[in-house]
């Protein structure tokens, strides 16, 4: 279990490091495409949170959205 935790921590730190390691700065006026609804992370997360309940009732894992969906005896 410690190996698993270490693996996850390492992968997480590598990801965080790569993100924080100085990507080119994108100026506000260059973000038109990023603001398009079809690029939204937030909308994806809302949809994923709604489907968490039926997915978790049929698969052994959870997560992947950054939020906890709340408990239920869902079918």
């Amino acid at each position: 279990m410690k190996r698993a935790a270490l693996l996850l921590l390492t992968v997480g730190l590598l990801a965080a490091g790569s993100i924080l390691s100085g990507c080119a700065t994108v100026r506000p006026y260059e973000k038109e495409r990023l603001a398009d609804p079809i690029m939204s992370f937030r909308e994806e997360t809302r949809e994923a949170t709604r489907e968490l309940h039926w997915i978790e009732a049929r698969e052994g894992s959870n997560g992947g959205t950054g939020v906890s969906g709340g408990g239920c005896a869902c079918n």
Partner: protein
């Protein structure tokens, strides 16, 4: 949709300032809305075990003064679990029960369909990147509550958004009368924490990465499910504690011709011995002025838990635990889906009263290597104001 309209009205300046918000990380319980808007949803879920779930729900959010906003999400579900297709107490009946969550009471007809309803409400209050939320779900045999909070902060000229969130849930499980007589109320608690970073890489590329950790305590098996062991059947039993952790990545790429591609990956592990990989891709494409079409594929594969077995020879199972839950075994699944969104306010002919109205239709097909399959149909009506 709301942001897109603002852009049409006010130009690229609003787009630019709104980008950081759109790129934002998950909010509390997923209830945060962009601005003032409302949505109504209807969903029908049917699977190959003849379980049917009809859902009606909605969301409402409003931007208040001084950067405050409030969001409410509600849901009502009616669940139909089919009757068993064999004599109660037989091997076949035990197997039938394992696929659904329902009591097999001696004073009711186990061959008849079992119905129950679930009501769920979640609320969130947000202010300057800080959120607090409350969730409640009520069923005849299950009552769940959760409080949550999160904080997010933009850095590097809003090219990097960091979000830290946590929640605590406490559930009361009070099974209906069942043939095994196990009707004692039980509890389950869930403590969850997440750290999510969202980075703008280029003017057309964003990356999101997150780490999550959950600690679950209390009842974690189905109180109605029985396991066939050596000529008789006995109640399922899972460990009372579970530590779950995952890391995930999501990459959003804008494509030429008004399209986008989204790729995601999640690695999950827990101390019950389950490890899973999830790979997901989505392709969105504008068709004309009003319509957006999205295609989706999700692939999932997991290993089995330490105490899973196709059959148990003693009531003690493996290390004292026994399960009839296929989710504890190894399997893989696919999900394919299409979603069509129509923004009625767009297009060459604009009608004032339709300007803030959108409709969504979604169909998804899920199937796994255990010959289980499901159909999910969802429609939604969205209003922004």
């Amino acid at each position: 949709m709301q942001l897109a309209r603002e852009l049409r009205r006010n130009g690229a300046a609003i787009l630019a300032t709104g980008a950081a918000m759109v790129a934002g990380s998950p909010a509390v319980a997923g209830t945060t809305l962009h601005d003032s808007e409302a949505e109504m949803r209807f969903e029908l879920f049917t699977d190959s075990d003849h379980v049917r779930v009809s859902s009606a729900g909605g969301s409402w959010g409003a931007a208040l003064q001084d950067n405050w906003n409030v969001a409410v999400d509600w849901l009502r579900q009616v669940v139909t679990v089919p009757g068993i297709a064999a004599a109660p107490g037989s091997q076949e009946a035990a197997d039938s029960v394992s696929g659904a969550s329902r009591p097999i009471a001696s004073d009711s007809d186990p061959h008849a369909d079992f119905y129950k309803s679930r009501q769920q409400v979640s609320t969130a209050l947000n202010w300057n990147g800080a959120s607090a939320g409350y969730y409640v779900s009520s069923e005849s045999d299950y009552f769940a509550q959760q409080v949550s909070g999160s904080f997010e902060r933009g850095l590097l000229n809003d090219n990097l958004l960091l979000s830290l969130s946590g929640s605590y849930g406490w559930d009361s499980i009070d099974p209906a009368e069942d043939t095994d007589g196990q009707t004692e109320a039980d509890r389950k608690t869930t403590t969850h924490g997440a750290f999510v970073a969202t980075q703008v890489l280029t003017p057309i590329t964003m990356l999101q990465a997150g780490v999550e950790l959950s600690s679950v305590g209390g009842l974690q098996h189905n109180p109605y499910r029985n396991i066939y062991v050596d000529g008789g059947y006995i109640a399922e039993r899972h460990p009372d504690s579970r530590l779950r952790q995952d890391v995930f990545f999501r990459l959003n790429q804008y494509l030429p011709n008004r399209a986008s591609a989204k790729l995601g990956y999640k690695l999950y592990r827990d101390d019950w011995g389950i490890q899973s990989h999830t790979v997901e891709s989505k392709l969105s494409q504008y068709v004309g002025q009003r319509v957006t079409v999205r295609y989706r594929h999700r692939y999932y594969v997991q290993t089995e838990s330490d105490f899973f077995s196709e059959s148990y020879t003693t009531p003690g199972g493996i290390d004292g635990y026994r399960t009839g839950d296929y989710r504890m075994g190894d399997f893989s699944s696919h999900l394919f889906g299409t979603k069509i969104s129509v923004d009625l306010g767009r297009g060459p002919i604009e009608v004032d009263w339709l300007e803030n109205v959108g409709i969504v239709a979604k169909y998804e097909r899920y199937f796994n290597s255990n010959n289980f399959s499901a159909n999910i149909l969802e429609t939604a009506l969205a209003l922004s104001f």
